[in-house]
Symmetry: C2
Subunit: 686 residues, 2 copies
Amino acid sequence: MIFVNRVKFLAVLVLIFLLMPANGFGETGENLLNLMPMPEKIDIRAGKCLVTETFTGAIEAVPGADTLRASRAVRRMLNRLAGRCGLFFTNNEIPIKNQPMDTALWVSFHRNGEIKLHEDESYQLTVIPGRIELKAITDIGVIRGLETLLQLLMADDSGYFFPAVVIDDRPRFPWRGLLIDSCRHFMPVEVIKRTLDGMAAVKMNVLHWHLSEDQGFRVECKTFPKLHRLGSDGFYYTHEQVREVIAYAADRGIRVMPEFDIPGHSTSWLVGYPGLASLPGPYHIEREYGVKDPTFNPSIKATYKFFKKFFKEMAGLFPDDYFHIGGDENNGIQWDANVKIQAFKKKHHFPDNHALQAYFNREILDILSKYQKKMVGWDEILQPGFPGTIVIQSWRGKEALRDAAKKGYNSILSNGYYIDLVQPTDFHYLNDPIPADSDLTAGERERILGGEATMWTELISPETIDSRIWPRTAAIAERLWSPVYVKDVKDMYRRLDIISLQLEELGLTHLKNQEMMLRRLVNGRDTQALKVLVDVIEPLKIYQRHQCAAYTFFSPLTRVVDAALPDAKQARIFRQQVEDFVTGNVNQEAADVLIRDLRLWKSNHQKLKPVIVGAPVLKEIETLSEDLSRVAGIGLEAVEFILAGKKVSLQWLDESKKVLKAAREPRGHAELMIVTAVERLVDACL
Amino acid sequence: MIFVNRVKFLAVLVLIFLLMPANGFGETGENLLNLMPMPEKIDIRAGKCLVTETFTGAIEAVPGADTLRASRAVRRMLNRLAGRCGLFFTNNEIPIKNQPMDTALWVSFHRNGEIKLHEDESYQLTVIPGRIELKAITDIGVIRGLETLLQLLMADDSGYFFPAVVIDDRPRFPWRGLLIDSCRHFMPVEVIKRTLDGMAAVKMNVLHWHLSEDQGFRVECKTFPKLHRLGSDGFYYTHEQVREVIAYAADRGIRVMPEFDIPGHSTSWLVGYPGLASLPGPYHIEREYGVKDPTFNPSIKATYKFFKKFFKEMAGLFPDDYFHIGGDENNGIQWDANVKIQAFKKKHHFPDNHALQAYFNREILDILSKYQKKMVGWDEILQPGFPGTIVIQSWRGKEALRDAAKKGYNSILSNGYYIDLVQPTDFHYLNDPIPADSDLTAGERERILGGEATMWTELISPETIDSRIWPRTAAIAERLWSPVYVKDVKDMYRRLDIISLQLEELGLTHLKNQEMMLRRLVNGRDTQALKVLVDVIEPLKIYQRHQCAAYTFFSPLTRVVDAALPDAKQARIFRQQVEDFVTGNVNQEAADVLIRDLRLWKSNHQKLKPVIVGAPVLKEIETLSEDLSRVAGIGLEAVEFILAGKKVSLQWLDESKKVLKAAREPRGHAELMIVTAVERLVDACL
């Protein structure tokens, strides 16, 4: 019976493939699917595989392979599928056999993937009516393919279905990471877990876990318990929790690389162990942000004795081959102020603190090597004489990456992926570790391992972290997975909206927490007017927010600026529509779209005013709200002038420009994102 | 300086108290505050204590008292305060001294509270301009008072403030619990933690943790590891996680009482230890719900040997004085089918299975007593000869509670607090363990310890559990804390809306997950029309939903019925407005309110129809949506007739009644909650 079905299946498969055109896009070249990241190769076929209550999954196991991870992945996939479709699947067993089976979804792989750099993540996915085959070398490939499958799900009046496709997929870069800073603000285990789920959904494979900082030491240390007891305010991960996170990540084919940032950024370590500092203590957990002075003393044996024991424990806890030692932003002030360190420098003929730090790094490298760990660090660790096994993570830029590759070092790119700086998605998306026009040799290219988005958390709480990571990081994930030529910004944004909604099913709060925060802000009143404003503002970018107030560990991250989202969609769409309008699309229909938005904004301040009266926390954005209405008023006039082809008065122009200039001023640490567009409209009146 | 300020403070205090009227309500008797539960005594004074950036907190410690718990509570309170007000407090230290201090908030207590039944939870809270004093016997009282303080927060154009009040408060019942069933669906640690935060916010003090069931054994057991390894699908709490939860609860003055349900409800135990069952295995984790046959064998020594070791481990893990052994719903089928058990019964002259279970319970009681644990069980355990130390939890009713008290047993009420049955808030709210007209003696009253809301999770996932617990459980919390005479349903609902919003700041998802679920349901389309429908439907009540489909562990809990909330607010308000309208308030203004709603509903199906086309999961509520529009249409006609005083035709009446009758039919396991109101309108046309 199974055999007959198998033959039938093959016959149908051959027939379908013969009849269908083989390309992934519609006739006009538009992308018909909602995949992110886009697979390497994709052929859309005719037909579909319906999802009904009889849908089942099965795994074909090669003898000797452990099927537990694949089973759990299929189980999760079926749960999400049932969740989206609302279907009561009648058969919930996931049989495991060593031959193909006659189930709707049939998954097979050759061996268990290792949670290691360069592990095979490829997969082939074939959907025909009634049958889905997912084949991979490793079960990690299976996990990647299941996410693609879920993204393929569509619906029409006949029900839910997977469109017939043949996908052949593998990643462009082997290192596709996300850094989570659990130090500036502690992120509970559930935040890390749901982030891992989001990462898996977009095929990222490295969690770079930033675990020590001036503001906190976040891992239980059994060898030196004062580290977490005195350096964490009680907010740290126990060994068991760390293992839980690592297992959870491994279950999704994700490596967990710890970062212990030394010798600077280390105040919290020195609270319990002040004798290892470069100047006498006592030290207290740092509450402020920025580059601080406390630094380990590189000139005393005690320091290395300490790290030997410390890394021994941590090497046992974290199985990943790579250990990140930070190594960034040591300002050298403590070293300069310590006479003995200066004498040590002289004795060893170190010309400067960089050379001294290189000495420190070499000692740490020796320790890590002893525990079979490879060293990773920020640009600063790239100094002559280090072995090619180290990995440079570049916050400085693509040039540094290029240099490292040319010098024979492996490297990963983070410059351009600093998602804490609230820059727009397309900025990150178009930032390629190896641009299409790169002159690097094949060997040099191979040393550029990929990249990492960095979620630093000075201005981020567990409540807001998801909205700072997602959905923008999905675009970075695509940059690191998909072929270099996949870079249609418009289509990226189209797919991003869909992926963003899907990420919610993993428990991610990037959308739902905004609504909650708005409810808290309005203090029982209606949120609608505030939402209209928040939809067109963004938090200040880069490091500007720190210039507005002295943010500390205790500062509230619950204000309007925190509810505002990066890359505000409404504003972005409006800017594009204005651009289209002024560059040749001047017609009533296009104008009507603009007018609808502008009217909403113009009338909004009157609605928001009474809300502000009852919610003093909103006072700080009162004039921003006023400006939105004013700017929208100008925009409406401009659209009218343009449509009428009427010449505008210099006085109107002058006054408008003044209002627009004032409206550019940040308020409440946030800025209006439609001002430039209205300026475009005003300029178009000339 | 401190002394001078202290004198000044006292002088101001005396002056204010002399000048002000002493009552907690406005001149027209309305409740001016938004507290839940309402305190025992409350006097509202004139004036307010402003909250500004200089707001600070301090703790006065009696020598020898541990201030860590109080400090953490004040820290959390200040964080939430800063979060609501958006204020950057300039001084974030919380000084601890052994004398009163000149800070805005001054907290003092006499001793550390024990996490035990009958511990003192009273507190006195005094707010005057510039100063808040919170005094308690124990630090648990401090924790209760801090929640009251946060609920007092108000705002006007001058900023945020606490109104001047004098509150003297203590609970009516010492046992105010919530049962969480972590078995039917596993609830991750973060769900338990945020539930504990919600409980603390409304001053509940017992987490009754249901940890074993046919569907899962949820605690790591080191003595018998096959319990969690084979009985949990991998979903269990480790010892460390259990300790983490207990510590988290203790930090909020909440006891954690474990329940291991025996001898029935025990399939998952028997998967790993089939030899202890009353019939030969093998056993598999149960996927379906309801009363199942597998039951421990009470006639063999191995069973008690097993429980001796088992409870030894668990008694070490769970510090609470009370252990719940379930004891409910043993159907006796396995016992009847086992010849040896029948022989055992005969030999011991047990007339029936109840007597046999009493024997079993007595053995378990002996074991628990050995580990200094008191036994708690459902009604079924109340059998002659048990000592007065046991506690009866009544799912059967207040009569059972009364009987137990009269027989000298302690008891707690759960009948009427089954929040999984989706009944309206006021039903639970008015359910009093000791009704005002009770004839119990003072001694008998004391034996009624309080009550517990029960969150059984057959139809609940981590995604929906919060909306099934909150905000309704806050009303139950008030029933168990506040004086018996606090039972104004209208005012309860008014305050509940406010408290519900505040609960969101603890990470509870009862509001925000609905929006997320609607987004998933509409598959990328606008949620608005679906929201209008969902706002006036409720999931089927009591056990009706199980009659609509064979729910199992794998069934999706993501459909419209799961997004619908218990006690649908829009529908409830509409029903009340209709009631007011037809009972004497027939005027245009009252009619307009009804007409606005009815028009919205009438036009809604046209808007929802295209959404349903693209989202097959919505098909099941298509006719429900149609009926909403139809019913609203009839309502509009009826209002018109009533306003016009026009006589209606029998034909119209007949046809309307038919439509209304059909509209009462559940669809998608949910029901329309405005049909009875429209029936009222139609009846009023006569």
